[in-house]
């Protein structure tokens, strides 16, 4: 049994903080990118244009049937190759953070597109028809009529998915990034105090995610009350 020495956490606080900031940065970019591309994917999926709807469905189902870590590995190896192709420079250094960002946006857009698709379908068909009757085009009816209602309906589920996304950022450990978990792991290896550091990481995640999930419950309750 080890003797706990939680002083190690105080000593490593700045390092752990920078790790947490990296996790948060990845979380924010992936959240915004995932919702943006997820919306486009959902619209493509519901399009009457077959090629568009089939390719969107294919991409989403492919991403959803492989492990997140597998997707991270794919983009870890593919992104440098793609960037090299685009810029014409071979062996361009892209770095694990950029490739992780690409992987997270791709994976999250697939997950969010399923949520948003359900949201769009929850809006009665008469709404876009009424918008078209008023002379709006597809983008106007989507942007002003359908999507605002869809997002409102889906807000609790989207927030829950955001909490899962925040937890999933710890997976970038597999490409050696110093996110919150990666930083704790590194500090633990140097000091030999891995036990205290992992317990600390678990506690911080528990506090953040539990508080966030309470908040989501409140939003849900408020919306349920407003719907009567």
């Amino acid at each position: 049994m080890v003797d706990f020495d939680f002083k190690i956490i105080i000593d490593n606080l700045p390092f752990l903080w920078s790790g947490l900031m990296l996790s948060l940065k990845l979380f924010c970019i992936a959240l915004v990118g995932g919702i943006f591309f997820g919306t486009l994917l959902a619209m493509a999926r519901l399009s009457s244009w077959r090629i568009l709807s089939y390719s969107s469905a294919g991409f989403v189902n492919l991403i959803r049937s492989i492990p997140f870590i597998m997707a991270i590995f794919w983009f870890y190896f593919l992104t440098p190759m793609l960037v090299g192709k685009i810029t014409g420079q071979q062996g361009e250094a892209v770095g694990p953070f950029t490739s992780a960002v690409v992987a997270f946006i791709m994976v999250e857009s697939a997950y969010y597109s399923e949520i948003i698709r359900a949201g769009i379908q929850s809006v009665p068909r008469g709404q876009p028809w009424a918008a078209y009757a008023l002379g709006m085009n597809y983008w106007q009816s989507m942007g002003h009529v359908v999507l605002p209602q869809a997002f409102r309906n889906m807000l609790p589920i989207m927030l829950t998915q955001a909490i899962i996304l925040f937890q999933d950022t710890s997976l970038v450990y597999v490409v050696g990034l110093k996110d919150f978990l990666g930083a704790a792991s590194k500090a633990g290896q140097i000091s030999g105090r891995i036990v205290e550091l992992y317990i600390f990481v678990a506690l911080i995640f528990l506090i953040i995610c539990f508080a966030a999930s309470r908040l989501v419950k409140r939003v849900q309750a408020k919306m349920d009350a407003g719907r009567v």
Binding site: M70, W74, F77, D168, L171, L181, V195
Partner: protein
């Protein structure tokens, strides 16, 4: 693109690279299946407890779900593998770490029983919290009248659960339970961080030895997709077979 290398002799295990993939798949399935047994049984108990009037057990189940749902899976994996052996009594920790290594030499991969059991325990207990939520919402989606009718017929509460509530609830939650199983199947790849040589780990290892990045990952991806599609197909058949007449399946997941 060169695919023939899969049939070449790999540097270890006395088999081809294709054999490495096969061994990885076997370990992925072993880990997922063992973890699913824990997740399904414990998750069912917790989910049922959360719907019963037993106040303390209900609270305990809620606390369990909140803790296991709000810590990232990978962090939990490290807790089971790195932290637990250190905080249990020294002799026990040493026994776990020293007696077991390389006990599992079964099909072609070498890693310790500590790694395997940590992965199974972690995935099982984590997924149990998600299964519990599915079971609970399945039970809560049934009309209250079913319980009351059962009680009015003179059934005890356990009897109502056994003969009325659960047979209905489990049929209704087949689609979400299917996706929970597929989640465990995919999440088993996190076990690679503690040294379990499952499918994703083997793909990475093949890439490291041969530099055939695309074929290595494409082959593993294909295996994941085929298994996912097969499971979804089989569960749809099961869902149709056990569907309650007159009860429209909720569908989706």
């Amino acid at each position: 693109m060169e695919w023939k290398f899969f049939l070449e002799q790999a540097p270890s295990g006395g088999m081809t690279y294709l054999g490495w993939l096969g061994s990885g798949l076997l370990w992925t399935m072993l880990v997922s299946a063992s973890a699913w047994i824990i997740a399904f049984s414990l998750g069912s108990v917790l989910g049922i407890l959360r719907t019963t009037p037993l106040k303390w057990l209900n609270l305990a189940a809620t606390v369990y779900v909140e803790i296991f749902r709000n810590i990232p899976l990978l962090v939990q994996m490290f807790l089971w593998y790195f932290v637990v052996p250190e905080i249990i009594p020294t002799e026990m920790g040493d026994w776990l770490k020293q007696t077991y290594p390389y006990l599992i030499t079964l099909p072609f991969a070498q890693f310790s029983l500590l790694e395997f059991s940590a992965a199974v325990l972690c995935l099982g207990l984590y997924t149990a919290s998600r299964v519990a939520e599915q079971v609970r919402s399945g039970i809560e989606s049934l009309p209250k009248g079913q319980t009351n009718a059962g009680l009015a017929m003179g059934f005890t509460l356990p009897q109502v659960y056994r003969y009325v509530i659960l047979p209905m609830a489990y049929r209704l939650i087949i689609p979400p339970m299917t996706s929970e199983f597929l989640t465990i199947f995919k999440n088993s790849s996190t076990a690679l961080t503690i040294g379990v040589l499952e499918l994703t780990a083997q793909a990475r290892q093949i890439n490291e030895y041969t530099f055939q990045t695309f074929p290595a990952f494409a082959a593993a991806t294909l295996i994941y997709v085929v298994i996912t599609l097969t499971v979804v197909f089989l569960m749809r058949l099961l869902e149709k077979k056990v569907a309650v007449p007159g009860y429209v399946a909720q569908g989706g997941h």
